[in-house]
């Protein structure tokens, strides 16, 4: 097949799969934009931050940290923790990218990783074409970033109770990511319940609530995930392309 024709096909395939993802992204990013607006970001900053980070939990953490006036090292640590799952996804996707792919293209494929784009990459038959991933990602990411910028701009003109209700969307999205695997896996279900409980307690106990929000998230994540990994090590096949995708 002609090289140009094949490339065009891959791009169209990516756009087709990226669009529905982008629709969902726009709505969720809109609510993320409200969080960003409360942290003091303008629409341009929201667009750039969203395009470069393109991670709901990571960006939520970023805007909360900006709102709290956190130090840069603290922000780096929180972003690392919030996006840690991408380490696993990136490692997993590395097995699906043709080994002779040039390094810049591999880096490009890595940059594209989100929960949903990762799922596309894993679902693609055979070697995952980087062009396909890139095209799906670009469309979805532009809609994601546009949603954030729109949320920052339009958050101003909406009544306070509507803004408050919309800011709940991001938590709805988190629930949609963690609950279905919890239904299938009792250990994850227990872990989520324990996380809720300890998160509640640590935010209420006076001597612990002096910790910054980011530090609290880091400590709970590392200790609970570490304990779960020691107590309930997973079999190899369980971690394959499942995660939060």
């Amino acid at each position: 097949m002609n090289h140009g024709v094949e490339r065009k096909k891959l791009i169209l395939w990516g756009l087709r799969d990226g669009f529905p993802i982008g629709m969902g992204y726009f709505a969720v990013a809109f609510s993320l934009g409200i969080t960003a607006r409360n942290a003091g970001l303008n629409p341009l900053q929201g667009f750039v931050a969203s395009f470069l980070n393109h991670a709901s939990a990571g960006e939520y953490a970023l805007y909360s940290q900006i709102a709290a006036g956190a130090a840069l090292w603290e922000i780096a640590a929180v972003i690392f923790i919030a996006n840690m799952r991408y380490l696993l996804m990136s490692a997993s996707l590395s097995q699906k990218i043709r080994p002779e792919t040039p390094i810049l293209k591999r880096m490009g494929a890595g940059f594209c990783i989100t929960d949903e784009i990762f799922a596309l990459g894993i679902a693609a038959p055979g070697w995952t074409p980087v062009t396909y991933l890139g095209s799906a990602f670009l469309l979805a990411a532009v809609m994601w970033s546009g949603g954030t910028a729109t949320g920052i701009a339009a958050g101003n003109i909406l009544p306070e109770n509507v803004v408050s209700a919309l800011s709940v969307a991001i938590y709805g999205m988190f629930l949609a990511i963690i609950v279905p695997p919890a239904r299938k896996n009792r250990i994850i279900a227990g872990l989520v319940a324990v996380s809720f409980l300890l998160s509640f307690l640590t935010s209420r106990l006076e001597w612990l609530s002096t910790l910054s929000e980011g530090t609290r998230v880091i400590i709970l994540t590392v200790s609970l995930s570490g304990a779960a990994a020691l107590l309930f090590p997973v079999r190899d096949e369980e971690t394959e392309g499942e995660g939060a995708a």
Binding site: A57, I79, S94, R106, V179, P180, S225
Partner: protein, 102 residues
Amino acid sequence: MTQGGIWSAIVVAALVSFAVRVLPLTLIRKKITNRFVRSFLFYVPYVTLAVMTFPAIIEAAGTVAAGIAALAVGGVLAWLGAGLFPVAIASCVTAYLIGLIG
């Protein structure tokens, strides 16, 4: 935070998330075999997202009743297999309606 501070935070976050996404895919061409590392990375997303969701959802929703209702409706819909978008919207609508009553 100042404008400069916000841009610095955005750049730092972008660099860290770039590294997290790109390094394993670029460097690892063999499978991770350490069981503890694999298990740890497997559990991380669930704990992080759960910790960030609760009790923050209550503060976001405005009242305890609206927050709990949004959590319950979102949780049940997600349990029943609804996607990311419907769950997010249902949680919002619930928080809004309960907020109107309360």
